[in-house]
Amino acid sequence: MSTSFAKKTPFITRPMIVLFLALGTFPLWGTSVGLYDYLGVEIVIWIIYALGFNLLLGYTGLPSFGHGAFFGVGAYSYGLFQLNVFESVWLAVAAGVVGGAVVAGLVACFISHRRGIYYALMTIAFGQVCWFVSMKWHTVTGGEDGLLNVHRGTLNLLVTDASLKDNADLFYFAFAVLVAVVLILWRLVHSPYGKALQAIRMNQMRAGFVGYNVWLIKWSVFTLSGAIAGLAGGLFAIAQESAYPDVMSLHASGFVVMMTLIGGGFVSFWGPVIGAIVFFVARDFLGSITETWLLWYGLMFMGVIIFKPEGIAGAFQDFVAKRRARVEN
């Protein structure tokens, strides 16, 4: 073979370094541009959530419109573990991951033979079931008020303990989790598993005839995505010092879909990251101007879907391609 088409996937890429540097230093510069540490915490948590969500939507082409359920289960798992089992941030976060994975794994058993609109409808139905349970099962979930006594706790770092009371400290913890998630997911999407996910998105039938176990792959990616949502939910419970049903509602599930689409999850690994940042900046910026900021955000969403369905990442890729073409000519 004269030419090799092998192209190694680097562990660290330039966009990663940019993201880690820009976001990782947020507590140092955020306040000086009028932002605040807690916003950074929210952004990081939702980036994790959206990255996991995009494994399903962008990579495998599976529309999950009830994903808030697993985020919420993660939050409740964190709270319940902390209040009833053991006082440890690590273990409680792990409980969030396991909680999200178990519930998602159960749901996935019922939907993995489906696709398209039926898949979407069933995820909505299961999402609503989880939301309803969280509203009504007072003895466990605290009903509409949620779990109230969750506290931030201290993080055991072997050599020292770090209190998460301060938003900046919590930010660094969440950010470290984000770094791990990004590194792992980046490997994952470039592995045979990641290629199989995309193959299923493009042509599920052919993927089966090539020899892939389509059902099991769909089941596993839904479970994995639920686990990541549970992880994000656990962090959210720390941040909010609470777990409550609202994050499991249909409109909260819609947020992560909108973030992923506006950012450009279908064309880029980084789509959900961009989308989550845009969402929170829009919330704070538009929210400071008008109470009806969601109306304007919704219009923006419609504009993106109509004019640039590939989202912000897609528009950026077009821009780079155009500039490269100009340079070459």
């Binding site: 092998a6 190694k8 045979p192 290629k195 995309q198 042509n203 052919r206 005839f209 090539v210 389509v214």
Partner: protein
């Protein structure tokens, strides 16, 4: 022992009997053809043989093992690959990625999330070899969805070849190809025939008569004739359809 055998297959959709007592035998190292007019049950037969449909009765045997009703992925894993009549590619993958995902080692590692598939030069070399076989060298980094029709046909066969099959099923490979494309495809399949056992379903008799070692004619859901192209030239049905002249 025959490489592949279908024994007394029946297939109904509701009240409609599509296959009625079909028995077929394909030998290793041969190119076997299935032909018949539109609506004869060729495609259904093909789908039953490759596991897409389950037969209502009868057995399908591959290398002496009963594979009746097994899911397509299991049949694929045993060494049977198929191409599709309607194009069935991974359009947003590049040409070489289409082959890469179909390599047996990629399928075997489908739950290995640490393996860098695009960085594995032995795999990409093998994929490039497959592309050379179907005449797509130089097109490796093109998106499959951007290929012209004839090259998509070739890639369709390439994806099937990628699994290193012991038996290759091709479903109407000349579908939609012009005279030039058909001639090129004939050349390609003539070449593949030297190394693979192949079954082709086809209504272009001229094409099939030029390539096949044995041909089965299916009509009204039954095998109405079987034999070498020479034997079939004198067959009543083939003569009646006047396409025998062309062959």
């Amino acid at each position: 022992m025959a490489l592949f055998e279908a024994i007394h297959l029946h297939k109904r959709f509701g009240d409609q009997v599509v296959l009625e007592d079909i028995s077929l035998t394909f030998e290793a190292g041969q190119l076997s053809g299935i032909m018949g007019p539109n609506g004869a049950g060729k495609s259904t037969c093909f789908n039953v043989l490759t596991g897409h449909y389950k037969p209502n009765a009868g057995k399908v045997m591959f290398e002496g093992k009963d594979i009746t009703g097994l899911p397509p992925r299991v049949i694929a894993g045993m060494g049977i690959a198929r191409s599709f009549q309607l194009m069935n590619l991974f359009d947003e993958f590049t040409v070489i990625e289409n082959i890469l995902v179909a390599l047996p080692e990629s399928v075997a590692k489908s739950f290995n999330i640490g393996h860098d598939i695009m960085g594995n030069s032995s795999a990409t070399d093998r994929a490039a070899d497959v592309l050379a076989k179907v005449g797509l060298t130089g097109r490796e980094l093109e998106l499959a969805g951007n290929l012209p029709y004839g090259e998509r046909r070739a890639l369709e066969i390439g994806v099937a070849l990628a699994s290193e099959p012991r038996l290759l099923f091709l479903d109407e490979p000349t579908q939609g190809l012009g005279a030039d494309g058909t001639a090129r495809l004939e050349e390609l399949i003539g070449e593949l025939k030297k190394t693979y056992s192949i079954v082709i379903i086809e209504h272009d008799m001229k094409f099939l008569f030029g390539l096949a070692d044995t041909i089965s004619v299916i009509h009204w859901g039954q095998v109405i004739a079987q034999g070498s192209p020479d034997q079939l030239r004198d067959n009543e049905w083939v003569r009646a359809s006047k396409i025998g002249d062309a062959a």
